[in-house]
């Protein structure tokens, strides 16, 4: 597209870029504050802390149960990734390959948990989980987190399945492959990039899923982000730097997986989840 060369157009362009720059600057500023503070000794009315020390990390590790919280987080995330893959990928395959009555309704059913905010459906869901005595346990947290991730996997996987030539499956059928063999020998190898992308995004989303975990977790089933919320909420119980040390651990845990996931998907895909 030809760009306009008038002064007004240039001014407008500069203004837009200035705005983007300011936004990114503030974003970097807020992340950097957390990182700097987590290493600072005393930070009071100066640009930078008086000195730097790693002891807040040791404190978060030894005194604030960071290893236990990380273990719970890994258990929850691992189970959610595995189960949403096992439920979601076959469902996506059926949705992509078959036209059955009620398919539109099924699609709407899968869209809703992604469009309705977790805090809105989380409270009735937690009520039901409490009645089943599942809330407050690890399985309750896992079940709650599966509600948005199963549809998420389905919606991401449908286009990946559609890309595969159906004649490949027909050939496998001709040679006598059962549905299970079709999946393990033909489809899963062909779908690996898509499955990897979907599951990595589920991983990132589950580490960062606050509302559903918060509403269903008990004292022994808190993930990192919920533990972080409680420490910020009860500010003063523990030093701010130690909370920030935990926040840095959380950031690293999320960012590593995000960067790996971004090798397989476009960032816009993370939010684009509703088509007209």
């Amino acid at each position: 597209m030809q760009r306009e060369e008038t002064i007004g157009a240039k001014l407008w362009a500069s203004l837009v870029w200035l705005m983007v720059g300011l936004f990114v600057l503030n974003l970097v500023g807020l992340v950097a504050t957390v990182v700097v503070n987590s290493f600072g000794t005393r930070w009071f009315a100066t640009w930078l802390p008086a000195g730097f020390t790693p002891r807040w990390y040791a404190m978060a590790w030894n005194e604030f149960q960071l290893p236990a919280i990380l273990l719970v987080t890994m258990e929850v995330v691992g189970a959610v990734v595995l189960l949403s893959g096992l439920i979601g990928v076959p469902a996506a395959y059926a949705m992509a390959r078959r036209d059955f009555p009620g398919k539109k309704a099924a699609m709407l059913l899968f869209l809703l948990p992604l469009l309705v905010p977790p805090i809105t459906y989380g409270i009735p869901m937690a009520t039901v989980l409490y009645q089943l005595h599942l809330a407050g346990t690890l399985s309750g947290v896992i079940l709650a987190n599966l509600v948005p991730t199963v549809p998420f996997v389905i919606l991401i996987m449908i286009p990946f399945v559609e890309q595969i030539d159906p004649r490949i499956e027909a050939a496998a059928r001709v040679f006598g492959a059962s549905t299970l063999q079709l999946f393990t020998r033909v489809l899963v190898p062909l779908l690996t990039p898509g499955i990897l992308a979907a599951l990595l995004l589920v991983l990132v989303r589950t580490i960062a899923m606050f509302e559903l975990t918060f509403l269903t977790a008990g004292p022994d089933s808190q993930t990192l982000v919920v533990a972080l919320y409680y420490s910020v909420f009860a500010a003063g119980v523990r030093p701010g730097q130690s909370i920030d040390a935990m926040a840095v651990v959380y950031m690293i845990a999320t960012m590593v997986w995000l960067l790996i996931a971004l090798r397989f998907v476009n960032p816009t895909q993370i939010v684009t989840r509703a088509k007209k």
Binding site: L30, R97, V128, R205, T254
Partner: protein, 293 residues
């Protein structure tokens, strides 16, 4: 035997065979943990701990401490959503011309992935009276006294911009890049300037996408929770509706009332989304769709 095969064949012709059944576990799961709880919550909200069928709803709409949460939440969510969408459009228009978009989109996806809790924790330091934000403004001589941005309306507002703008922007960008560039080139060839091209070509094509962006961004902002507690004044100016629902469930153990508040929250969201869709229908009618050419 031949009868059974006949049924099978007929089902298969309609797309029902063994493979179709693979969708069942997912459907059953969502029915059990999303649809059923919602219906159960609706049912529970009409069975209050004391009083008649509608007691919860009557209590909500007669107690200012409860019904004012709707206004408080709207007062946060509506301005934030409009600001985010209005800022997203010009930025998306510029960014679509960039060759290397991925760096910027990657930076912007970071706050979405980190989530509201971390953003709130960061802003507590960053926006504080001795934080970098105020220090820079004071060093530049723009202000004399630190701005009070925490534990009030503005703390929550700014956190909603930090997490909401990237979401709105990436959504807008995906709609903007979905428009066939040759349409705009045709306009340019016929002598339309940038402003006219935007007004008469791009905006009509974007309207359906922007309506969805507005609706999704609003719903996200309306369900603000952790930052309203951590950065706002959860007892006063930022007592949003999700805080009221949370307190009913986890502090008063009145699940019936909590369900009623959750249903009211969902109703307000649905009302606004429907209003947006209706407004779009009135404002714009036409065969426009932004499909890639």
């Amino acid at each position: 035997m031949s009868d059974r095969i006949g049924v099978r064949l007929r089902l298969a012709r309609r797309g029902m065979d063994g493979l179709t059944l693979l969708v069942l576990p997912a459907v059953l799961f969502i029915l059990a943990l999303f649809v059923y709880p919602f219906l159960y919550g609706l049912f529970l909200s009409f069975h209050p701990m004391k009083g008649g069928t509608f007691a919860n709803y009557i209590r909500f709409f007669s107690d200012p401490f409860l019904y004012e949460t709707i206004g408080t939440t709207l007062w946060l969510a509506v301005p934030v959503t409009i600001l985010n969408v209005v800022l997203s459009i010009p930025v998306a228009m510029r960014v679509r011309l960039l060759r290397r978009q991925k760096l910027l989109t990657t930076i912007l996806v970071v706050p979405i992935t980190l989530g509201t809790v971390l953003v709130a924790e960061g802003l507590l330091n960053y926006l504080g009276p001795r934080g970098w934000f105020n220090r820079v403004l004071m060093a530049a001589g723009i202000i004399d006294h630190p701005l009070m941005l925490l534990h009030n309306y503005w703390g929550v507002f700014l956190s909603l911009v930090i997490t909401g703008f990237p979401f709105t922007f990436l959504l807008t960008l995906s709609y903007v890049t979905g428009i066939d560039p040759s349409l705009e080139q045709a306009g340019a060839m016929l002598g339309a300037r940038a402003r006219a091209r935007f007004r008469h070509i791009l905006l009509p094509l974007l309207t359906p996408g922007l309506t969805i962006t507005l609706a999704l961004s609003f719903v996200q902002a309306f369900s603000v929770f952790p930052s309203a507690v951590l950065l706002g004044a959860p007892a006063g100016p930022t007592r949003v509706i999700s805080i009221a629902a949370y307190q009913a469930a986890y502090e008063q153990y009145d699940y019936s009332m909590a369900s009623a508040i959750a249903m009211i929250m969902a109703a307000v969201q649905v009302l606004i989304v429907v209003a947006l869709l209706v407004a779009k229908g009135i404002a714009y009618r036409g065969p426009a769709s932004g499909g890639k050419g």
